[in-house]
């Protein structure tokens, strides 16, 4: 059939019965997409994950980390800590790009926490997921670079054996990058006093993090 014949043969629009099947399909399709995207809120994997975490507050198992002074610290777990909220961002210290800017917005957050007198209830961690390359010395120099003194903001690294569990529990996706080393989610993960992952924020969205901290 030629285009001409197609155009010649049809092209009229009928009555209501003509529109009904398409209308139904359009409505059903929209409903389907609405459901599949949590009401158009979560078009990406990342936003879907954040919505789920906000709703479910999944319990984190306890992870033992090593901080820049070589001491062991714990995040997650049900035992509770002496601080009420832990903020975690994942980094690797040789990162030339995102982690740098992430570091500076983390620093701003630290200053605001300090000024607001929230320091006793907030612990901020930058955690390296690359313990092979990130030696204690590296963590130290990273801490110096960003003026993370260890009082509120501490630099730490994971145990190599934990990497898969960490990735699963925090929903991290870390990809090897052809130029820089890794591409990873840069986000601030909030852990409440019960060791539950309660929210995830964009790294530069420190206003929202601060608002949440002030409330809790």
């Amino acid at each position: 059939m030629t285009r001409a014949a197609r155009l010649g043969g049809r092209g009229g629009l009928g009555g209501a019965a003509y529109f009904l099947p398409s209308l139904l399909t359009v409505l059903l399709g929209f409903a389907g997409i609405w459901l599949a995207t949590n009401g158009l809120q979560a078009l990406t994997d990342e936003s879907a994950k954040r919505l789920r975490i906000k709703r479910e507050h999944p319990q984190l198992p306890a992870f033992v980390l090593q901080n820049m002074n070589g001491q062991e610290i714990t995040i997650g777990g049900t035992l509770g800590q002496n601080t009420s909220v832990t903020l975690v961002e994942f980094i690797y210290t040789t990162c030339p790009t995102i982690c740098k800017t992430a570091g500076s917005s983390y620093g701003q957050l630290r200053d605001r926490v300090e000024q607001a007198g929230l320091a006793p209830t907030v612990r901020m961690l930058s955690v390296s997921f690359d313990p092979q390359n990130d030696t204690i010395e590296n963590l130290k120099s990273y801490a110096e670079l960003h003026k993370a003194a260890g009082d509120i903001w501490t630099i730490a690294r994971i145990n190599a054996v934990d990497i898969e569990r960490i990735k699963r529990n925090f929903g991290l996706r870390i990809l090897e990058d052809e130029i820089w080393g890794y591409q990873h989610n840069t986000a601030i993960h909030m852990i409440n006093a019960n060791g539950q992952l309660s929210d995830i924020y964009d790294i530069d969205d420190i206003d929202s993090v601060f608002a949440a901290l002030s409330k809790s």
Binding site: A4, L7, G8, G11, G12, L13, D202
Partner: protein
């Protein structure tokens, strides 16, 4: 059906077009009132907050451009219906979507206080500094999306109808005559050539416009999605320019179809006519994508070149239309009535408006003149005297009664014509004078040195408003008289 038979019967959807013109006329009048208020405020005659001025300027720009498109679409639909079978349902869909869009825009500017200009240039809509909420900017762009979808339906209906009758767009543009062996007598009528060309480039414009609108909307919702500002600007520029040109090119069909009624000589498609329309197509399509694809860094010469060519793009067509009209008028017993005078005036206005546009398109001048009132000066000439003139000429013709047909111009007709012509000329001249004196455009508050032109322009604009308002009322009563009969 033969051509002659075809042109005799009226469009089956004349009623819809008459309604369209009524809406257009009323909105034109309203937007002109807003224009007068702005001009008066620039002249220090009114005390207005700058915020309100920018809301009014946004409404005026969007409203005028949209209405120019609407009235042009009405004219084209009416006359194209003499040559091809058009779908009334698609037109109703177009009109409905257009009106929904208008509601969105009005709510955005008057309720949401959106004042980011009709060009919604990124990132201005998202950076209101508190003057308006993001929803207002989103509503404004959604309004554009509705109008754009409406026009898409319109051009789909036109395109399908033309292809059905003429086989392909190439034939509808008359290419078989200039590039093939066909004789000039086989050329499609001017209306069809014009409609085919406008359909092609304005569909392209709408597709590009939709893309930049949706990207800007995404950016409003998810600010992380930064938009390439330079590319966005190019796309908006392309879309806006194409759209506003299309409105005049659609309206000029009224000239092709109505002037012959007065001269008794048919407006035929000559080879020059066909070539002129194809040149327009080429200018608009071939120059802009080139100018668009420059992703990151836009060389300045390219912008300037694009601008010159875009301004020049009106010239071949203009030459053919204005020139042919003079030839037709010459040596025929032309009947001057309100409709025919307005149409002739409009072609003159359109031609004259191109001159300052070309001057502005020159590189050296442009650096001085752009962003002065020279710019509103030149486009008000061909939009106000040109496009609006054609629309009101068509409207006057629509409601012309049998008795008037014999009598030509009455005293009232003469008054309306004179006040429109004199007011329009004076009003636009004041913009040009201000531009030449480097008065910037888009300034809510003017320096006292500029008040003289501002105030004179206000008086001239009032003349225009008087004429247009009266014409709208006469049109409305004319319609009801005709339907009552």
């Amino acid at each position: 059906m033969s051509q002659a038979e075809n042109t005799k019967h009226l469009t089956p959807q004349a009623g819809l077009v008459k309604l369209t013109m009524l809406i257009s006329g009323a909105v034109f009048a309203l937007m002109m009132l807003i224009g007068v208020v702005m001009r008066a405020s620039q002249g220090g005659l009114l005390d207005m907050e700058p915020d309100l001025f920018y809301q009014l300027l946004t409404t005026h720009g969007a409203g005028m451009v949209g209405t120019a498109g609407l009235s042009g679409a009405g004219i084209m639909w009416y006359f194209l219906g003499r040559h091809v079978n058009l779908s009334a349902k698609m037109y109703i869909g177009f009109l409905a979507l257009f009106l929904i869009g208008v509601v969105f825009i009005l709510v955005s500017t008057f309720v949401g206080h959106f004042g980011g200009m009709w060009t919604f240039l990124y990132p201005l809509p998202a950076m209101s500094a508190g003057a308006w909420e993001p929803w207002a900017a989103a509503a404004f762009m959604l309004g554009y999306v509705f109008i754009g979808v409406g026009f898409l339906l319109y051009y789909l209906a036109v395109g399908v109808a033309i292809i059905k009758k003429y086989g392909g767009l190439g034939r509808a543009l008359g290419w078989h005559v200039v590039f093939g062996k066909a004789d000039v007598t086989e050329a499609p009528p001017p209306t069809v050539i014009a409609a085919a060309a406008v359909t092609i480039f304005n569909t392209l414009g709408i597709v590009v416009g939709a893309a930049v609108l949706v990207a800007s909307l995404v950016n409003l919702l998810v600010p992380g999605f930064v938009v390439d500002a330079l590319l966005a600007k190019n796309m908006i520029f392309f879309f806006g320019h194409v759209f506003i040109n299309a409105s005049i090119y659609m309206a000029v069909i009224a000239v092709y179809e109505l002037i012959p009624e007065y001269t008794g000589k048919k407006w035929k498609s000559s080879k020059a006519f066909i070539l002129a329309w194809s040149a327009i197509l080429l200018f608009v399509i071939a120059v802009y994508p080139h100018h668009l694809l420059q992703d990151m860094v836009m060389p300045a010469w390219m912008l300037v070149m694009g601008q010159i060519i875009s301004y020049l793009s009106g010239v071949p067509l203009l030459a053919v239309t204005a020139f042919s009209m003079c030839v037709y008028l010459h040596g025929s017993k032309f009947k001057w009535d309100l409709a025919s005078s307005l149409l002739v005036l409009a072609v003159a206005g359109w031609s004259i408006g191109a001159i300052p546009a070309i001057i502005d398109g020159m590189v050296v001048v442009n650096q001085v003149m752009h962003n002065t009132q020279w710019v509103p000066g030149h486009f008000h000439i061909y939009l106000l005297i040109g496009e609006v003139g054609m629309s009101f000429g068509f409207m006057a013709w629509l409601v012309k009664s049998k008795s008037q047909k014999q009598s030509g111009m009455g005293a009232m007709d003469k008054l309306l014509l004179t006040s429109f012509a004199a007011g329009g000329a004076g009003f636009t001249l004041m913009f040009l004078v201000s531009g030449a004196l480097s008065v910037p455009r888009r300034w809510a508050v003017h320096m006292p040195e500029w008040f003289l032109q501002d105030r004179l322009a206000t008086i001239f604009a009032l003349l225009v408003v008087f004429s247009i308002l009266t014409q709208v009322i006469r049109y409305a009563t004319g319609l009801s008289r005709n339907t009552a009969k």
